[in-house]
């Protein structure tokens, strides 16, 4: 579908106020006030476009958006709402009004430490300590065919460090000549983009691209859909030129390995449901590769949730919402988890570290009878 964003002033007038977006918005469905949906946010954007002052209440609503892109998918006037929300956040940033201290802390961490948690760079290597076998050339090898971009969530949160462990084992098993950027890796910049801070994100992009190119790799693989989307779709725009690397999500890369028989899946009897991450599905158009990986595993039964692919519900984990309103994220995740539980699956698999975190947290609080795993973790058991 064509989509447009000719600036706040124009698009907020084009909005028909039809409410198609409200019907699918995960935040609106959870909170219910008119101000919490995309139609409300457009009204806020209209005020911004007209130069009217925005209060902290307005700002809070602007940031209570997971950037899931569902509103863009259903907009009959074809407004690129995701772009518009980022423009609106950019407007807030330009006017010096990132009022939430939590957001300011993330911003400061990213600018000072180049990651979202404020960890020292060496902590990006912590996930490697539990690997049972050594994997050669894991850290910033001088020459490699593939660079694996780990990302902040998978690299720095203990809950998701199984993802790089699993993927590096899979790559080693397939005898892929790969490396990571090690402690020199910096955040992809996605959280800064989500705050409307494009210039700061471009600084990270420049350094990441330069380091990735030092390895002479031709392919960059990302397991995080937000990193993938940022590298593939945003970096060329931020840097004003192609980045000179083929960017693949791990699901796409695994399909390549399976097709070329570099991996041989073993039977794994399980009933699995699959969650489409917004940044991989709606925002990047990748729906089939993760499913192909799962379907390649003998004995696995893949059952779809009621809402899947383009219509998939958001898990709540995007758009920096977790930083300012964790209760909202938890409520959105519970809604998605309920759909997963309805399928009767034993495993909820998703190819995204952040989706895994939010859905696993929901599964724990709801005592759901299914295990939440990242695609790489799941595949590692069968490949």
């Amino acid at each position: 579908m064509k989509s447009f964003n000719i600036g706040l002033d124009h698009e907020t007038l084009v909005c028909a106020r039809c409410g198609y977006c409200q019907a699918v918005c995960p935040v609106y469905k959870t909170l219910g006030w008119e101000s919490t949906g995309p139609r409300g946010r457009i009204a806020i954007a209209r005020q911004a476009a007209q130069g009217a002052p925005l209060s902290i209440d307005h700002e809070h609503r602007v940031y209570q958006c997971t950037l899931c892109g569902h509103c863009r998918a259903v907009c009959p006037t074809h407004i690129d709402t995701c772009d518009l929300w980022l423009d609106l956040r950019g407007y807030l940033a330009d006017h010096g009004s990132i009022a939430r201290w939590q957001l300011r802390r993330i911003r400061d961490n990213l600018i000072a430490h180049h990651n979202i948690t404020g960890d020292v760079p060496e902590n990006r290597l912590l996930w490697q300590q539990n690997l049972e076998t050594g994997i050669p050339g894991l850290n910033l090898q001088a020459h490699a065919q593939v660079v694996y971009f780990v990302g902040c969530v998978a690299g720095l949160y203990p809950q998701t460090q199984g993802i790089p462990q699993a993927l590096s084992q899979i790559l080693a098993k397939a005898q892929i000549d790969f490396t990571t950027l090690g402690s020199a890796e910096e955040c992809c910049g996605f959280p800064l983009l989500g705050m409307g801070l494009e210039d700061a994100a471009a600084d990270l992009a420049r350094r990441n691209v330069a380091r990735a190119k030092e390895s002479d790799a031709s392919v960059l693989v990302a397991a995080c859909p937000s990193c993938y989307h940022t590298w593939r779709d945003v970096y060329p725009r931020l840097l004003g030129a192609p980045i000179g690397l083929q960017v693949k999500h791990t699901s796409e890369f695994l399909v390549d390995l399976l097709t070329e028989h570099q991996l041989s899946p073993q039977p794994f009897k399980a009933r699995v449901t699959y969650h489409d991450p917004c940044d991989l599905g709606r925002n990047s158009g990748v729906y089939d590769p993760p499913r192909q990986v799962l379907k390649a595993i003998p004995g696995l039964e893949l059952v779809e949730m009621v809402d899947h692919r383009e219509n998939a519900l958001c898990c709540g984990g995007g758009g920096n919402v977790e930083v300012i309103d964790p209760d909202l994220v938890a409520a959105i995740a519970r809604r998605r988890l309920a759909q997963a539980s309805e399928t009767g699956a034993n495993f909820l698999v998703t190819p995204c570290p952040q989706c895994k975190r939010t859905l696993a947290n929901a599964a724990r609080t709801e005592r759901a009878r299914l295990q939440v795993l990242d695609l790489n973790e799941f595949a590692c058991r069968a490949l």
């Binding site: 084009v14 028909a16 106020r17 039809c18 019907a23 219910g32 006030w33 009204a43 209440d57 259903v74």
Partner: protein, 483 residues
């Protein structure tokens, strides 16, 4: 969100907790529907800012609000998706807004009676998808199905996609749960007192609908879409009249005039042809659909039409909910929706073309055949709400379009606040007396959605309205001619 320091209605706040707000920040979002109304007019005619908003989760919440409003003589405005342009769900005297959007979801399906019971703010698109998964389908739905709610469409006239085959929504309704203006919950059926029919098309002025039981059907096995182009409007009208009365009955017939196709192109969505178009959908068994396609071929041959390729027809069906994409050519879209005899469609559009020439603005017309003899017709033109004076002059054109519709036996489709000046031209005195009597009986305090449907605001009384709008359209014409 920030709550006001001193609450105006503390008892309601206690009863509803987080589902109630008097915050100015939140209330300000409830002042609009689809219509862009200049603040000058808004301030002059109504108090659109509610005093408080309650987000109801169930009929009990609605009852709580209504009883409180009744005891304190407060106006109540029921609101769900707010997808009309008539201010049906916009407050005109402040008061309380009851936001019904949390009343969502299918309650049950009765497979023997072939009915579904749903919460009233369930979206039509959502209900259709849920029913489809279980092997059923709705009989008809509005062209704004992705956002329009079940209760909202019951409250309006209820003609749309599928009405040609299955009749208006009112004929499909079995039971309504309604919170009456005194706070009682009524389970209205065709036989009850008050009967179900009173709440249909009442636009939320007699009570708040919280649950609906309506007829459903087995999901059709086959859906077949066809797109026909005609040399002129007369041929299109002949084909439409023939198809509307042929057997098997088409599920849907939609038409577009050439001005509509040009406007779509201007908005960035070019059509394959710029001839008047008919989009026809048959559904049912393979046999029924094949018979429909044969009928269609015969009609095309006798009306000098041509059948366009299937993929275009499929796209037209997919885009049946996307009529508002015209706004991309806008920024503002103004117009009038009318109920019109099919036999007068060509004359109506031809007459509109004369109006468009005189006023120097293209007027595009499209619509849906909803009975064998009638269509709901939308005639729209571009405007710009940011240029206030020009925009107010443009608003006068909507009356001119309705005048043309009246000339050919048509009338406005939907009343609300803005079309109330036409009441005496659309209803017989007897119908009006019956409406007033119902309102007096069920809502003697006039708290339920006041200023809608029954009478106009003083400044919109027919005499002022007609004089004012005619003067403005004369000015507009003079202004556009002089440029």
């Amino acid at each position: 969100m920030s709550q006001v320091a001193t609450l105006r209605f503390p008892e309601l706040a206690d009863a509803l907790g987080e589902r109630y707000t008097e915050s100015i920040f939140e209330r300000a979002f409830y002042r609009r529907d689809l219509a862009a109304v200049p603040s000058l007019l808004e301030t002059l005619l109504a108090r659109t800012l509610p005093h408080a908003v309650a987000c109801a989760r169930n009929a009990d919440d609605v009852t709580t609000v209504v009883r409180y409003a009744s005891a304190h003589h407060l106006p109540i405005t029921p609101r769900a998706a707010a997808t009309t342009v008539y201010w049906n769900s916009v407050p005109t005297r402040g008061g309380l807004v009851v936001d019904l959007n949390q009343l969502r979801g299918l309650v049950s399906i009765n497979e023997e009676r072939l009915t579904a019971t749903v919460q009233s703010a369930t979206r039509w698109g959502e209900l259709e998808a849920t029913l489809n998964r279980r092997g059923y389908a709705t009989l008809s739905y509005p062209s704004s199905a992705p956002s329009a709610t079940i209760g909202g469409w019951v409250s309006m006239e209820g003609f749309g996609i599928g009405s040609l085959k299955y009749g208006r929504l009112a004929q499909q309704l079995k039971r309504l749960e309604v919170v009456l203006p005194n706070g009682e919950i009524s389970h209205a059926t065709p036989e009850s007192n008050p009967p179900l029919s009173w709440f249909v098309q009442a636009e939320g002025t007699l009570g708040i609908i919280t649950q609906v039981e309506l007829a459903i059907r087995p999901k059709p096995n086959v859906v077949s879409n066809h797109l026909l182009a005609f040399s002129d409007l007369t041929a299109l009208q002949r084909a439409m009249l023939a198809l509307a009365t042929s057997t098997p009955t088409a599920y849907n017939i939609h038409f577009s005039d050439v001005a509509h196709l040009r406007l779509l192109r201007q908005a960035g969505f070019p059509s394959a042809t710029e001839k008047p178009l008919l989009a026809i959908t048959f559904d049912g068994s393979a046999q029924q659909v094949a018979a429909g396609a044969q009928t269609l071929k015969n009609v095309v041959a006798s009306c000098d039409g041509e059948i366009l390729n299937d993929s275009l027809a499929g796209l037209e069906w997919v885009d049946r909910f996307a009529s508002l994409r015209l706004k991309r050519a806008g920024p503002t879209l103004l117009g009038a929706e009318a109920w019109l005899p099919l036999s007068k469609l060509a004359d109506y559009i031809t007459d509109l073309a004369r109006l468009a020439d005189a006023q120097r603005v293209p007027i595009a017309t499209y619509g849906t055949v909803v009975t064998p003899t009638t269509a709901t017709v939308l005639s729209v033109f571009l405007s710009d709400e940011t240029r206030t004076i020009n925009y107010i002059l443009d608003l006068s054109l909507t009356k001119k379009i309705y005048d043309v519709a009246f000339r050919y036996g048509g009338r406005p489709y939907g009343i609300g606040f803005w079309n109330a000046p036409y009441l005496h031209r659309t209803c017989t005195p007897q119908e009006l007396m019956e409406r007033f009597a119902r309102k007096r009986q069920l809502d003697p305090l006039n708290i339920m959605n006041p200023d809608k449907v029954y009478k106009t605001a003083f400044l919109l009384s027919p005499m002022f309205f007609n004089l004012g709008m005619d003067a403005l359209s004369w000015l507009r014409r003079a202004w556009s001619t002089s440029r």
